[in-house]
Subunit: 341 residues, 2 copies
């Protein structure tokens, strides 16, 4: 077992003032610990973009029509979306997972069929996901991670999502599991105006008050307010943890899924890298709840795993410096601090 | 002449909610404007690491001995430093410029001889740089940019630096030209302890009070408190602006050089991208002075152009999305916002 002290010593031997690479040093340390090595590697990174539809979208909580979910799935498969462009830039594999899009999709080599049902139920009237459906999502998620892990050498997984209405689901999940005020968890999603935003708050407040649930019970929270993509990502993250993979956490929705995973498996935080801070209102509060400082904060609010992809080269830089920078000794650079008179 | 409105229309046609790519959209817009195109390109990026020594280092204002300057130059040339590792990761060309290191250096294909003198004078006693020396630095800087521009297709330049003692020089320059309190401009550099830090403040305060200079006169400020690397970077940035190149601004020292360049040529800000916020104390104040939000803030404080290199893939992502993402029309994705009842 590699000792943390030995990793830190390697970092401190590099030709730079102590601590001068800031968060890159913390990331390098984290990856070395997960991989139990002084020579960490990022191998065949994958981003899974998990898509599903939400019954609550019927209530008009999004600025875009529900058809955008399946339309964007085809856009991912045709490699025209933001995540495709950024993943290609960094040699990240993108796979699209249909966890329950409200339309039958044409088969494609990059599309994984993990449909739980034809969209969730509208949680304004009844629980979004049945208990058997949660089990199906869990089984699908485990199979996906197992299949990729056995057919590739991938040791780092990022998770993105697509699902019109899913900021509503995520807001309720985050409120229930963290106690952050519901209003702080609700944002403008894809771009609601003031009136639409106000209506979204009313609808979600109404849904919360309608169901008498145990807010501390993560399964119950997913049952009432979950989305198929959120549940699938949650269980996939746990599967990654169980296989000792690095987990890249994207924005608001993916972080809500991570929150659920963290409630099931608190130690999952050791394998997680918070990639970016989304501009969606609630994300900063959720990051604070985790005491997490994300790598980037570029006012992005797109989902799809784009935060993971944009942050990926920074994570790679952490691995590069610990492996490839010269040490004071090897470079013949003085490391002795001057005694000031 | 491409209109800003046409660039914005292209950005808004992409398959994403309006504004959802945040700062990437602002960067794409900026690059399109500089390059006067809807299809921007980053070609053969260069980072110039400009090194020089400082007379003030005699006073013990740094935690490291002055020899580290030339030792690090050799480390750059042997590709063992942080900037080499990160530049290699992103296919950025690194050239090292000797602007006045206090040692005769062996020739090397990646080393540009632009020596002004054997280190600056100690500004505790006399002006750091003579007026003829400033002219020499200017001529060298212009020649360097002209040579690279004529021998390559490079259209983007980053600037890094190495010089034991140079946070002292930069602190005084920034104080004089912005009016930010001197104490706020002074940081711990490579890692001073409390006692050393307190002594640095005393020395710089003493130096400031000794010389009666016109703080608004940038040439005079460089004359009294400049460094050869800072002056060279300043004039090189202006040469880049005159040739319509993109200018990547790194951390505390490079930003002090940019400040000087900006005083000479206010419109240079149009070509500049602020890459990162350094952990060196004064940098956040200087960025606020420019009303600049840097791309990354990873608590780095290493110099060498490392902030430019780490931020570079984000800049590239801005170029990638505007060139390569599908539009709503081409992808068949609905762009019409739902009318909420």
């Amino acid at each position: 077992m590699i000792k943390e002290k030995d990793i830190q010593n390697k970092i401190d031997s590099k030709t730079k003032p102590l601590g001068a690479l800031g968060m890159l040093e913390a990331i390098a340390l984290k990856i070395c610990k997960v991989q139990n090595t002084l020579n960490p590697k990022l191998i065949e990174p994958h981003i899974l973009v998990v898509a599903a539809d939400h019954g609550i979208a019927e209530e008009g909580v999004s600025a875009y029509p529900q058809d955008v979910t399946w339309q964007m799935v085809y856009n991912f498969l045709k490699e025209g979306a933001a995540i495709n462009v950024f993943a290609k830039q960094h040699n990240i594999n993108v796979l699209v997972v249909d966890a329950g899009v409200k339309k039958e999709l044409k088969a494609h080599t990059k599309l994984i069929d993990a449909r739980v049902a034809n969209g969730t139920a509208n949680f304004l009237y009844k629980p979004a996901i049945t208990e058997p459906e949660l089990t199906i999502a869990k089984n699908h998620a485990e199979k996906i991670i197992n299949d990729i892990s056995s057919s590739t050498s991938c040791n780092v997984f990022g998770f993105g999502e697509m699902g019109i209405g899913n900021t509503s689901s995520a807001a309720l999940i985050i409120h229930c599991l963290t106690g952050i005020a519901l209003k702080d968890c609700i944002g403008r999603g894809t771009g609601l105006n003031d009136e639409q935003y106000s209506k979204k708050i009313d609808i979600l407040t109404h849904a919360l008050n309608k169901h008498k649930l145990d807010k501390r019970n993560v399964l119950e929270v997913l049952h009432y307010f979950g989305g198929f993509e959120i549940a699938t990502i949650c269980f996939a993250m746990i599967a990654c943890y169980n296989q000792n993979k690095l987990i890249l956490v994207d924005g608001f929705i993916a972080s809500a899924a991570f929150l659920c995973a963290n409630k099931f498996e608190p130690k999952i935080i050791d394998n997680a890298i918070f990639c970016h801070q989304s501009n969606e209102n609630g994300h900063k509060y959720l990051l604070a709840y985790f005491k997490a400082t994300p790598l980037i904060n570029l006012n992005m609010r797109l989902g799809e795993g784009t935060g993971c992809a944009i942050a990926y080269p920074i994570i790679k830089s952490a691995v590069e410096f610990i492996n490839n920078m010269a040490s004071f000794e090897s470079a013949g650079v003085s490391n002795k601090e001057v005694e000031l008179a």
